[in-house]
């Protein structure tokens, strides 16, 4: 496995606040890796350290073989960044902006191709000051992609989007994966992590609580959800770590009463269950 990002024991302190308290993860080349967690978990701090915008307090970080803190131009030429929120010049058109950014990079992509990929072809001649929020976010994508980066950072790429715009942004991220790009994305949306990420790290209070493929994270948990509807039509749901025993109990009772368990289902824990289970502890502490 070729490594794009390696993080070991990363910590960041702002005064008395420990934003990141010892994080380890590895992102392989060509992988879409998601940092999932509630607001204030330390996701953005982590990503901004990897982008070279912040200096770490402790730990080792390697991004495409470089230490981002040294801010080498050679690294910035290979990386595209979509910041969480970021303004733009208002008096240039979309095409002018993308073409201008293309000039920063040694091997830029074709401007029209990038506008197309970002879904901005129709807005090419529009001044950026007149774009909607969603269109501006697509411009962020376009500006991050025009240098043909190997690695793309997406910090909360769809926050504030309507459902259609989110789907569109997801398609863009998927097309990046198809192009063989490595993507590190942060999100507080479970469905986004589930839909996009090959692997997810759940972050809370500056620590990684669990990491793995979204499906495996669910499988690792023992909490199964059993749901059914009784003879009166009332819905029941039980969470158990022994689904076999619970099913035996339920079916035995039902048979004894001569009833059916309508809509009986046993669900493996989803990413959502794992996430809520893991992050609940943090809320209790807070």
């Amino acid at each position: 496995m070729s490594v794009a990002i390696e993080v070991r024991g990363l910590a960041k302190r702002y005064g008395d606040v420990e934003a990141v308290r010892g994080i380890d993860f590895v992102v392989a080349r060509g992988e879409v890796f998601g940092l999932l967690g509630p607001n204030g978990a330390g996701k953005t701090t982590t990503v901004e350290i990897l982008e070279g915008h912040r200096e770490r307090t402790a730990g080792e970080v390697s991004v495409l073989g470089h230490d981002p803190q040294r801010r080498e131009r050679a690294l910035r030429e290979r990386v595209g960044i979509v910041l969480q929120s970021c303004g733009m010049y208002r008096h240039v058109t979309v095409r002018e902006a993308v073409a201008h950014w293309a000039g920063f990079y040694p091997h830029p992509r074709d401007v029209d191709e990038v506008l197309d990929l970002a879904g901005l072809s129709e807005q090419a001649g529009v001044r950026t000051g007149r774009l909607s929020g969603g269109q501006l976010r697509r411009l962020d994508f376009a500006l991050a992609l025009v240098g043909d980066p190997e690695l793309i950072f997406l910090d909360e790429p769809t926050t504030g989007f309507d459902p259609a715009a989110r789907r569109q942004a997801w398609d863009t991220v998927r097309s990046l994966r198809d192009l063989g790009k490595t993507v590190l994305l942060t999100t507080h949306y479970l469905d986004e992590a589930q839909a996009l990420a090959d692997r997810v790290a759940i972050v809370q209070d500056g620590r990684i609580l669990a990491q793995g493929a979204p499906g495996d994270l669910g499988a690792g948990s023992t909490r199964y959800r059993v749901a059914w509807r009784d003879a009166e039509g009332e819905a029941h749901e039980r969470v158990t770590d022994d689904p076999t025993g619970l099913l035996h109990e339920l079916t035995t009772d039902a048979l004894a009463r001569g009833e059916r368990l309508e809509e009986l289902s046993v669900t493996r824990p989803t990413l959502e269950d794992v996430y809520l289970e893991l992050t609940a502890g943090g809320d209790a502490r807070a």
Binding site: G87, H91, F104
Partner: protein, 248 residues
């Protein structure tokens, strides 16, 4: 792309953006001309007074196009997040900032040309007497006030307060530094403060270049004061530089 070419590209983008905000560009250039017209009318026929006003307004124009414009722009770019976005690209910071600074220099030169032409056309001040002195003091003024403008932007906490901060510096400085009258006639303590500030010396240099024909060699003390302020400005501009808003 070579860094010089990148700087030129950034400069051209800055110019395009400047002219795409035509009303801002218009009033930017009109402001010194309005002041010149007002004071020219007040002192009509008094050539001695007009010989003070024209270089005074010229000095103010240098300060407005560099100090005021950069304090304003750098605060805006920082608070909007444009600086942070730029920092994530391979564009070297020095190349980026050189494009912005060259754009400010262009505005300073354009505005000086307008003031000088208006002086020649309406206020009897003629063409510059010493072109070398004009070039030297314009360049020194631009470097000094550009650096001080960037330095001031570091002290401005957010964009909403930029106007208040900038005016709190700009207005007293132009009033005290003899833009509208001859500092030599001001009370002692006003004169002392003006002597310590850079604008009075830029105006002295421009006055020599435009009116009296006093060259750089005869005005080296003024140049030295501007140089000291420029050095302080550059140190403060570089040391305090922040790529992003302090709100987190």
């Amino acid at each position: 792309m070579h860094d010089v070419a990148l700087s030129w590209r950034q400069y051209r983008l800055e110019r395009r953006m400047f002219w795409r905000n035509p009303s801002a560009a218009f009033f930017n250039f009109l402001f010194p001309l309005i002041l010149l017209a007002l004071f020219g009318a007040v002192f009509a026929g008094d050539q001695e007074a007009l010989d003070v006003i024209v270089p005074g307004i010229a000095g103010m124009a240098v300060m407005a196009t560099t100090f005021t414009a950069l304090a304003w722009n750098m605060t805006f770019l920082r608070e909007q997040g444009v600086l942070k976005r730029m920092r994530g690209t391979p564009l070297p910071p020095a190349v980026y900032l050189s494009g912005i600074a060259l754009s400010a220099l262009t505005n300073a030169v354009l505005q000086l040309a307008l003031v000088i032409a208006a002086g020649r056309a309406f206020f009897g001040t003629g063409w510059p007497q010493d072109w070398a002195a004009l070039a030297v003091f314009t360049a020194a003024g631009v470097v000094c006030f550009a650096a001080l403008g960037v330095a001031l932007s570091h002290a401005i906490p957010n964009f909403d307060s930029a106007g208040a901060y900038i005016n709190a510096v700009f207005l007293p400085v132009i009033l005290i530094s003899g833009v509208f009258y001859d500092v030599a006639e001001a009370p002692g303590f006003i004169k002392d403060i003006a002597e310590a500030l850079p604008l009075k010396h830029v105006i002295d240099g421009l006055s020599g270049a435009l009116i009296t024909g006093r060259g750089v060699a005869d005005n080296w003390e003024a140049l030295a004061v501007i140089g000291l302020w420029a050095t302080a400005g550059i140190v403060l501009a570089v040391r305090g530089f922040s790529w992003e808003s302090r709100r987190r």
